[in-house]
């Protein structure tokens, strides 16, 4: 058994292998599908509050140093010390240079499926700090992306390009929420 404490150091080895095979993206998609078991129902039924609930548990269990809040239909999250990358940097094995990419790699497809726009940004891939924003309002996330580009952020990830799918899934989510009400 690889202890759950050491999973991310194994994950790091998986990423290095897959990167050599040019196989990261399909793997992220598989992990995203796997994560649906934990998140999909919660996010579809409770929206941003469901995200608070899920990542609130993760914050505790994974020992994250993270703050988040919801304001005007937007959920903001600031991870000031990511435990995952921190462990990978504190390892005797070489860190994968693309380690941070796994996070938007699984979160973005899940958000698209739940009908939310998502943007994640970070200053450096070897620094365990990042920001994420979630909303069903495309204009709000687009505005953040424009600002980030203006500010010179190099590492910006979002599902804005998948807007047609996000919009269609947002309608489905609204129907689910109405039927639950």
């Amino acid at each position: 058994m690889i202890p759950s404490d050491h999973f991310v150091r194994f994950y790091n080895e998986v990423f290095k292998f897959l990167d050599e095979q040019n196989g990261l993206k399909p793997y992220y998609e598989e992990i995203s599908r796997h994560q649906e078991r934990h998140c999909l129902k919660l996010f579809m039924e409770k929206g941003l509050l469901g995200m608070e609930e899920y990542w609130g548990t993760i914050r505790v269990e994974e020992n994250c140093v993270c703050t988040s809040y919801i304001e005007d239909g937007v959920r903001y999250s600031h991870m000031s010390r990511c435990p995952s990358l921190s462990k990978v940097l504190d390892s005797d094995a070489e860190p994968c240079g693309k380690y941070c990419l796994h996070c938007p790699g699984w979160v973005a497809p899940l958000m698209t499926k739940c009908g939310f726009y998502y943007i994640k940004y970070l200053r450096a891939l070897d620094r365990p700090e990042c920001y994420s924003v979630f909303s069903e309002y495309r204009d709000k996330i687009e505005s953040i992306r424009r600002d980030l580009i203006r500010q010179g952020f190099k590492h910006i990830f979002s599902n804005l390009d998948d807007f047609a799918e996000v919009e269609a899934n947002r309608e489905i989510r609204h129907r689910i929420q109405k039927s639950d009400a």
Binding site: I2, P3, H38, E62, S91
Partner: protein, 151 residues
């Protein structure tokens, strides 16, 4: 002393992601590729354990097995003698958690143990062996080679 001191909260759902990853790598790249990744994990991530084993010192390996299975509420028995570490797991915490998540344990799940252990022992006088006795029940054996008489 453990190289990786872990003593705060646990996120056991990582066992689910590990399980999904084992299946994914085996299906897309083959079981040999999976073994290579796991063995490299044992060799590189657990360098500190391996380097001690190289010197004939099993102390960190013993501490590692004991601490992480204790932390995950495993049921196990650890028997240590001069040239052998015998670790019997009666209920694997990873498999127990997968069942809790209603996930089928990967057919490759025990490679986590056999290959990571083998990686830790690579280039050392120690050899590892895994005997799977049933679901969640195994014996992990680490045996130090006898010194060559010609030495």
């Amino acid at each position: 002393m453990l190289r990786y001191q872990e003593n705060n909260e646990l996120h056991r759902d990582f066992h689910g992601t590990t399980n999904a990853t084992l299946n994914y790598i085996a299906a897309h790249y083959g079981v040999d590729a999976l073994k290579t990744i796991l063995r490299k994990t044992g060799h590189d991530v657990y360098k500190s354990i391996r380097e001690k084993l190289e010197k004939g010192d099993g102390s960190e390996l013993i501490e590692h097995l004991n601490w992480f299975f204790y932390r995950e509420r495993g049921k196990y028995q650890l028997t240590v003698s001069e040239n052998e570490i015998l670790f019997e797991v009666f209920e694997c915490p990873a498999i127990r958690h997968l069942r809790k998540l209603n996930m089928e344990p990967s057919p490759h799940i025990c490679l986590q143990t056999s290959e990571v252990n083998a990686g830790m022992c690579e280039g050392t006088p120690w050899h590892s062996e895994l005997k799977v006795l049933g679901e969640g029940h195994c014996i992990q054996i680490f045996r130090k080679a006898e010194k060559d008489d010609t030495e």
